[in-house]
């Protein structure tokens, strides 16, 4: 093992540009290919299964690989195969370039924005098989693809580009219903981004930083040391959760789709292009869940983490912390699915009234409350 370390330390010295590039690439690949995409696929199945269970049905439980049914989880593989082999229909009068670009623009920004999320405890370079006490590592590899000072501002900036996906899909389809869906999507996403930013701003005030990794470090292992504890924090969480669901365009904020009135901005899409929009929705759920876990629920921290870090190998501790983080994100995804299948859809005017007249003033008031809170308590 030591010779492998020495080899890596020689070609990739800690802190060099090539080291940063390789580690960032490795982390991105882990995050997207091994976490986000499989989880998004499983969520497409879980949405159907969980909604069925909530409505006293059984749900999809038949798909299998040979004798392995796995409660029907292979359904998402079957769905993907079906979508790939379906006819890819492009309306004759559609704008071909924008029509092809829109699904990519719906998925890519969310994946890019997830780069700032810290998904585990730092790995100690060169000391992975040693027991490393917390805070003593000299060469930590942060489990975060990009450590930016702009932090959550980067997330907001990039994630808001996803509105182009919906708006362009509506515009390029040459279909009135699609255009209405695109218009609704853009008005809704712009309205709720303001509230989302304001809710996050009260957390910026409390943490004194924009950087998600630093936010996780500011929180403790035990639930009462997490970011949610405190009055402005709870308000910020509720506002952030509501606007994050509105951002992902899901029930109760799904008027851009509104399948009973207009089918939505993706009405002309078929096959895997539609699948991209579908997948993008679930990737958005995962990313917003991950942001909420990072800001409000201690990120990768779990009860007893500090004790564990001082008693197990560094690599094992990092794996356990990634597992704890994944479990939290998964629970949040399940919670978002619970909301989606419990609440009825808002009407377009109700949605905008809720956004601009109720939630935005509340979120601004919460920023003031957070400022007072910081002044008095810290």
């Amino acid at each position: 093992m030591d010779s492998i370390y020495n080899f890596f330390a020689r070609i990739l010295p800690y802190g060099s540009a090539s080291f940063s590039a390789v580690s960032a690439l490795a982390k991105s690949v882990f995050f997207i290919l091994l976490f986000t995409m499989p989880l998004a696929g499983i969520l497409t199945w879980m949405e159907r299964r969980q909604s069925a269970m909530m409505q006293d049905r059984v749900g999809p439980n038949r798909a299998n690989i040979g004798p392995f049914t796995l409660w029907g989880i292979p359904h998402f593989i079957a769905d993907a195969l079906k979508m790939i082999f379906k006819e890819d229909f492009v309306p004759p009068k559609a704008n071909k370039l924008l029509f092809a670009l829109a699904p990519v623009l719906a998925v890519a920004p969310v994946l890019i924005a997830s780069a700032i999320i810290p998904f585990g405890a730092p790995l100690c370079y060169g000391h992975m098989t040693d027991i490393v006490a917390p805070g003593t590592c000299v060469a930590p590899i942060e489990m975060q693809a990009a450590r930016l000072d702009a932090g959550l501002l980067f997330y907001f900036a990039i994630a808001s580009l996803a509105v182009y996906g919906a708006a362009l899909a509506g515009w390029a389809s040459h279909n009135k219903w699609a255009l209405m869906g695109g218009m609704r999507a853009s008005s809704q996403m712009m309205s709720y981004e303001v509230t989302m930013g304001m809710a996050a701003m009260s957390m910026f005030l409390i943490y004194g930083t924009l950087e998600p990794g630093a936010m996780v470090n500011a929180q403790g292992d035990w639930p009462w040391q997490w970011g949610i504890v405190g009055l402005p924090q709870v308000f910020a969480f509720v506002l952030f959760l509501a606007s994050a669901i509105a951002e992902s365009k899901r029930t109760p904020f799904d008027i851009p789709e509104g399948e009973s009135e207009i089918v939505g901005y993706f009405v002309e899409y078929s096959g895997m292009r539609f699948g991209m929009f579908f997948l993008g929705e679930f990737v958005e759920i995962i990313t917003s869940s991950a942001i909420m876990v990072t800001v409000f629920f201690g990120g990768w921290r779990f009860p007893g983490a500090e004790y564990l870090a001082a008693h197990v190998w560094n690599w094992a501790f990092v794996l356990i912390s990634v597992g704890a983080w994944s479990a939290k994100v998964f629970l949040f995804c399940a919670f978002q699915l619970l909301i989606r299948w419990s609440l009825p859809r808002l009407r377009a005017d109700q949605l905008l009234r809720l956004g601009w007249q109720r939630m935005l003033p509340l979120s601004i008031a919460n920023v003031v409350l957070a400022a007072v809170w910081v002044l008095l308590l810290k």
Partner: protein, 187 residues
Amino acid sequence: MATTVKIVERPAGIRRKTYLIAIVEGMWVTFRHLMKNWVGNTLGRRAKTDIATLSYPEQKKAYPERNRGLHRLMKRDNGEVRCVACMMCPTVCPAHCITIVPEEAPDGTIEKRPRIFEIDELRCVVCGLCVEACPCDAIRMDTKVHALPTIRRADAILDKEELLSRGDTSTATQGGVGSFWREKVKT
């Protein structure tokens, strides 16, 4: 007639207006159902859950007693077809799906029997009038079997042998009691 307008009262009070309590209550209901069904289904105790789904090919619901299924032809005591080719059922059939070609019966007890007895299950409307019309309990629809899907249309036309293969000996008196049945039943 004057149009009446029913004014629906909007919820009053901060508790009702914010809908927050109602949202939490509603989500608690769905969460309770989710946990009960999920845990019960995972442990294999479907009966303890609220799930009403019947897993069809494995589980089948019992049909009611008077369900009309695929036709069958009943048999005489000696195993011959019970039908006497009286042509009642092709006459009454609204879909004209029954084809009977009669022939003379070899033994002297009855005059006729069907040489060909065919039912086109694709044309059959499953009305059951043929069973009602039959004077000697020769045709029945009590199999509780559906008309099966077939590759060729010809396969859906059932002939005498196939109809007889589901057949059984009738409990009705062979040949009936004749036109004096009222007197005979009294005694």
